[in-house]
Symmetry: C2
Amino acid sequence: MPGGSGEVVSRRARPAKAPLSRDGIVATGLDLLGEQGLPGLSLRKIAAALDTGPASLYAYVANLEELRALVLDKALGDVAHGVGQGREWRPRLKAILTSYVEVLLAKPGLAPLATTTIASGPNAMRLTESLLEALIGGGVDPAAAAWGVDLLLLQVTGIAAEQSARRSQGDVMGRVAKAYAEAPAHELPLVHALHKELFSGPGSSRFGWALDVLITGITQAPRPPTGSEPGHDRPGHDKDPA
Amino acid sequence: MPGGSGEVVSRRARPAKAPLSRDGIVATGLDLLGEQGLPGLSLRKIAAALDTGPASLYAYVANLEELRALVLDKALGDVAHGVGQGREWRPRLKAILTSYVEVLLAKPGLAPLATTTIASGPNAMRLTESLLEALIGGGVDPAAAAWGVDLLLLQVTGIAAEQSARRSQGDVMGRVAKAYAEAPAHELPLVHALHKELFSGPGSSRFGWALDVLITGITQAPRPPTGSEPGHDRPGHDKDPA
DNA sequence: TGTACGAGACGAACGCCGTTCTAGACGAAC
DNA sequence: GTTCGTCTAGAACGGCGTTCGTCTCGTACA
């Protein structure tokens, strides 16, 4: 293509760079996520940290979405899924979920990442298994346990994300709290009266209360799904795919 | 400034463009969100739809984050917050939350938007007021009601987002479901046995069950917070702001 | 031993994004 | 009639995910 003077500069200046690897890419992404929060988890920043270009990462990762799932799953490896093995099932369940939320809060970007991405790697599945085991071991109907795990993870992840936002974006949360604090006493009397309770607490007591609510509800809910319902549960595939 | 031949092209060719307005910008954003999903809610696309440049929007909106909150709050205006006024508090609460989730699912990008953004506009606050009213009217302790509203909204929003993702990103959800379906029977026996229940149901029955769980738990949770606790709830501002 | 092949590395570019700077245009107030 | 402040834009900056085409290099095969 370049018909002019040849002058092919030899691309010999390669100082023994460590070869890329999927694990290294994911580990670097997790590090950057911990340092810079969610914006740190970008293909370009990971590539720069690895002293290469973004295109090089595509040999190991399909796209950003897959990378995010891998990073989240790697982080979930720190969850203590075998905690309180001998104890009763309720404290055991709480201990696992507490470990989960602690992991999410250990690095700034993890909680927001967990709300957007669903990990399907081995660590996420191990966590699901532990939660199912605790619930079913406590006598909860298996089908209710399956749905309950979803409920618990969704709630706990959301609480972690809320608390994470309070740390790193206190200004934004402050503006929201102020808006509720300035609610007109007429028109919105309950919001006005309870605005402090609505935003109270850094999560520790609130988190425990949420767990109690969910566990109580799961064990005592009126009619746990039997799983053998007529089958109108899944008519075709989707009712409105557009 | 350009010393050359004057030739100042008169900028007269302005065909009576409707002047921009905050409401028009938000309405256009909501329309685009409904048509193109979350990626449709961008300053550039809204500006293009309004036949102007992105810089022009900054006279009415501080940044994208504020615009997102405004769009979400406008959408929440469709929630029927006065539904089932005469009925008992439980069906009333369910009716309000059902309306909320229906609004979120009415336009493709709304549910994902609601998981990322917290609206603090009048419609969001009216929704909070209605939920508080139903709970407290049912005899729930006011402090527990305040925290319960958070619980309910978080859960319902998450369920809506999950269902929304199933519609517009069925492939992604399918891959996750397949990963769980292929869980090794040893190692992860419960996940293997219950993988179908973990991903079952398009939400209608599941949504109702989640509501029952939460309401039951909120009313029967062991010790609702009294609100007059010693005060270690909020020592300074944040324990670990970094 | 020589050679062909395929996977990995990578520079460059495309199109998108939010945001800012700068200069004009215009209506209202003095 | 002039000034002033708000609104309108064009242009640009830096960053993003992703793709394309090419180049290198270790390896397997002849």
